[in-house]
């Protein structure tokens, strides 16, 4: 079964129909999506800025990490659930939408960047946990993350202007 066929099936479900037909369901789910995203981006930016050595320099990297990550994770889960519902309501239209595809690709790249940081860069953290000048790998992780999440927001906004 092709992805397009899967999208067509998703669109035909009762949930999808309910969202399309209602005057308030889509805006409400979208609002939850936006609230979740701004919390993800805002919290992850705090950590990225610490990795770049640009803010919260009086706090250790792990301190910022421990404060921020619970927010990032739970808000991300909310964003995905809400986003999934939005997608379902017009799956075939979103699937072929270029900014939507770019947003998904960017999310994937952000995931890869995060995984690399978690699995590799974070291992040696004891050595630079309190440093204001963090190692290059940490700076790259933070910088790439910031750029990618800014792009996620930009592509997401662009969907609204191009979706049929």
């Amino acid at each position: 079964m092709s992805i397009f066929r899967l999208c067509a099936w998703l669109e035909s479900t009762r949930v999808a129909a309910a969202i399309r037909v209602s005057t308030w369901l889509f805006p409400t789910i979208e609002t939850i999506h936006v609230l979740s995203i701004v919390l993800v981006v805002g919290s992850i930016a705090m950590f990225d800025l610490r990795l770049l050595g640009l803010s919260s320099r009086d706090r250790s990297v792990t301190e910022v990490y421990d404060d921020v990550m619970p927010w990032t994770r739970s808000a991300f889960v909310c964003a995905v659930i809400a986003g999934g519902l939005l997608f379902t309501s017009s799956a075939t239209k979103y699937y072929v939408n270029v900014p939507f595809r770019l947003k998904m690709l960017t999310l994937l790249l952000a995931g890869v960047n995060t995984a690399y940081f978690e699995l590799w860069t974070r291992r040696g953290i004891a050595a630079w946990n309190h440093a204001t000048r963090t190692p290059r790998a940490a700076k790259l992780a933070g910088g790439i993350s910031l750029v990618l999440w800014i792009l996620v927001v930009a592509f997401g906004r662009w969907i609204g202007f191009t979706k049929q």
Binding site: P27, E30, T31, V34, L35, I37, V38, L39, V41, G42, S43, A45, M46, S56, E63, D67, W71, I150, V153, A154, R157, W158, F161
Partner: protein, 158 residues
């Protein structure tokens, strides 16, 4: 009267430029959303700290000193980007009750934030010593911030 102002504004050269150069509005909205991200994350953390729910490692006064000056700066950018969007599409904002509600909430939460900051300056232990007042302020503030984002999104639907 507002309608007449909107009609006039939407025909000025600046407004027409914003309307016709197609990437301006999405780009400015993106900046607006990124600024909202910064404010929401900071204020969610501060409000939950005031409510005593999260971040108890840091004293409230430290959080206020850390976040609030930046929130003011970013609020300025939000006002500027919002102004550009309003100049580009005056009626979409100024004649919209979701927009007006949003701006009323922005004004209210700004006053609350100013209060929190000024009180903290005079007595850094003030909010630590008054759990109930701090919780009340945190709850109201958080509700307003969530309300602002909600009203902002609903401008497009009302």
């Amino acid at each position: 009267m507002v309608q007449a102002f909107c009609d006039w504004l939407s025909n000025t050269p600046v407004s027409l430029k914003i309307q016709t150069i197609l990437w301006i509005i999405p780009a400015v909205q993106t900046v607006h959303i990124l600024c909202v991200s910064f404010v929401m994350a900071s204020m969610a953390m501060l409000d939950l700290r005031l409510m005593g729910i999260a971040g108890k490692r840091q004293p409230i006064s430290r959080m206020v000193d850390r976040f609030v000056p930046w929130v003011w700066r970013v609020l300025l950018i939000l006002l500027a980007s919002g102004a550009i969007l309003t100049i580009g599409e005056p009626g979409r904002e100024l004649l919209n009750w979701a927009f007006r509600t949003k701006m009323a909430m922005v004004a209210t939460v700004s006053l609350i934030l100013l209060l929190v900051q000024q009180v903290n300056k005079r007595d850094p232990k003030f909010w630590e010593n008054r759990r109930i007042a701090a919780t009340a302020v945190g709850v109201v503030s958080l509700l307003l911030w969530v309300g602002i984002v909600t009203a902002g999104r609903w401008i497009a639907y009302v």
